[in-house]
Symmetry: C2
Subunit: 351 residues, 2 copies
């Protein structure tokens, strides 16, 4: 029998279409060139070493002794402009404002043929530290309402450049969906006296069936009401509304959990295209007791269709418990950047 | 300068990324086999005549003297089941209910190599009458909260079968996004004393720049704050919350406007993949003065990326006014099923 499930934090209903559920193996990407099979350096790639003149001067650059190891540069074709104003003009149905904001690119590595899943823990820590540093600086600008951190991996996730990179965008409005989530989280808090996201990670850890990696300070799992196959959340275990509030220890742990989770997708599903985003609160909601930041990873292994367009509600043709078990069982190549032999508690299976 | 725009009805902000805006011509689908270039009959297609045994017995079948001209059959792999219950079980974060509902397929034509854009007006009227008839019957079932009507055209829109078909789904919950839209429409009504959708079509008709086809009883346009390139709304000009409330005259007019709009996409963008959905109110909201049904058409000519995943907010790399002008200027093949020579007022250009 099919089942409807509701996410307690977002209140989104999803149809778990068991009648046409596919096995996890069905979502393995068809034969395609893996990231690691590409050349390590590409002469005309704007993010490869030697082509630094093809981007604007870096806003932040980290050197590892050999050369730059990470760079943040302004996006060459920004969605929003730091030169625009923030005046709103409402005239009947035409509500507009100038497109003020920041749009930056974080180049994750010198190496062309790698991706977050294949980096070392140290490199992912560096990436997240750079996100936090830049996010803190942007939050100083009172014209911005929130900062979004995200990555597009692969063409169907919207990437035009193969060189490993993430992006940051600072926006001057609270997006409608974010506002709705804040309201729903507040309604949950009002009813239960606790944060929905805190309740969620605790109960997911307790249940175990949907856990992928249990870190010291965060939990990676497929939510009970996952919207699509292998839709993953990584939730910090300490309550905090903003990503920039994470401590060094929390970020170091998050880096490992994020890398292991992405490596399991990479090796288990053959380098699928995906998006990940840090779902953050608006910068002025730093003291909220009901909203909690988290990372959402969405592999592009199924299509949105007319039903989703007509309702905003998803049909998920996979069973979250079975997908999580599949990922837990993905063995990662050992040695070097791949070592993940954590303590037994890192295995979500508790039976 | 980029611009932020807000839809007054849905309150969604969108970034109109003028800095990297593409011209309408850039969204023309690359060379691919057009629908009309496929064979007219396919031996193993479950929706082609002669293969009626491959589907369940029809719920509705319309004969045109030659044979069946349209059929509604139960979906062979339904997302929801009419045999399930509607009991909710809430246990901590695990909120679930049995997957009760209806999932039906409407086969639009005997002919394999056609699509709504290529049908005659009479055939589209028949399709919408069938939707309405079946929608009314489903609404009698008090276990259902709403009925969704939609079409997936092409692989990237989620179709697995090429034979022209639409779908109906009856769901036992009000999807979260629908609830949010009802609330926002009510807030608009509270502030303005009028329906946001009524205000929108009137002002869009008056402005003219974003109009595609102006019918007698509905308006086809690219909304001021369109979320993606060639995102189209068709709004009935009479206030009504539910699609099933449309009169025969309204449906006949809608059929022509829908067909002409889809034909302009077909000929202008070379048969792009797309979804359309009737965005409907829950069945028990039939007397709402603030919510208004409409058709949303979403051509799959750009990708959702991490920014959208992280915020629910879209970046639209096209200018609605320019896209609408492009579609208005698409000439349709004359004669037979393609004739659309309406009165001059059907042309949205008013300058």
């Amino acid at each position: 029998m099919p089942e409807l499930r509701q996410n307690v934090a977002t209140r989104e209903w999803v149809v778990i279409a068991t009648e046409r559920a596919k096995r996890p193996e069905n979502f393995v990407s068809p034969e395609h060139a893996l990231t690691e099979s590409r050349p390590a350096h590409v002469a005309d790639c704007p993010f490869c070493p030697g082509n630094e003149h093809m981007t604007e001067p870096p806003i932040l650059s980290i050197d590892d002794g050999v050369g730059w190891a990470l760079r943040i540069v302004p996006n060459k074709f920004p969605a929003l402009s730091s030169n625009a104003g923030v005046e709103r003009s409402f005239c009947g149905i035409e509500r507009r404002m100038a497109g003020f904001g920041f749009h930056e690119v974080l180049v994750e590595s010198r190496q062309h043929n790698t991706t977050t899943a294949l980096l070392s823990d140290l490199e992912v820590v560096r990436l997240l530290f750079a996100f936090r540093k830049r996010g803190k600086a942007l939050a100083e600008d009172s014209r911005l309402m929130m900062v979004i951190y995200f990555k597009n991996h692969g063409p169907s996730a919207g990437t035009s450049l193969a060189h490993p990179h993430c992006q940051l965008i600072g926006v001057p409005v609270v997006p409608h969906t974010v506002r709705a989530r804040l309201q729903d989280a507040l309604a949950y808090f009002d009813e239960h006296g606790s944060c929905a996201f805190c309740d969620m990670w605790r109960q997911e850890l307790e249940a175990g069936a949907r856990v992928i990696v249990a870190g010291k300070h965060c939990l990676s799992f497929i939510p009970f009401a996952a919207l699509s196959p292998f839709h993953i959340w990584i939730v910090p275990t300490r309550h905090m509304p903003l990503f920039t509030q994470a401590t060094n220890a929390e970020i170091e742990d998050l880096a490992e959990v994020l890398r292991v989770t992405l490596a399991k997708l990479y090796h288990g599903l053959r380098d699928p295209d995906f998006n990940f985003a840090i779902r953050n609160a608006p910068t002025h909601e730093g003291t909220s007791r009901s909203f909690h930041w988290y990372i959402s990873i969405v592999p592009k292994v199924s299509k949105m269709a007319g039903f989703e367009v007509g309702t905003g509600m998803f049909i998920n043709p996979s069973l979250p418990e079975r997908s999580a078990e599949f990922l837990r069982n993905v063995a990662l190549p050992s040695g070097g950047a791949y070592a993940i032999d954590g303590p037994p508690r890192r295995n979500g299976s508790r039976s």
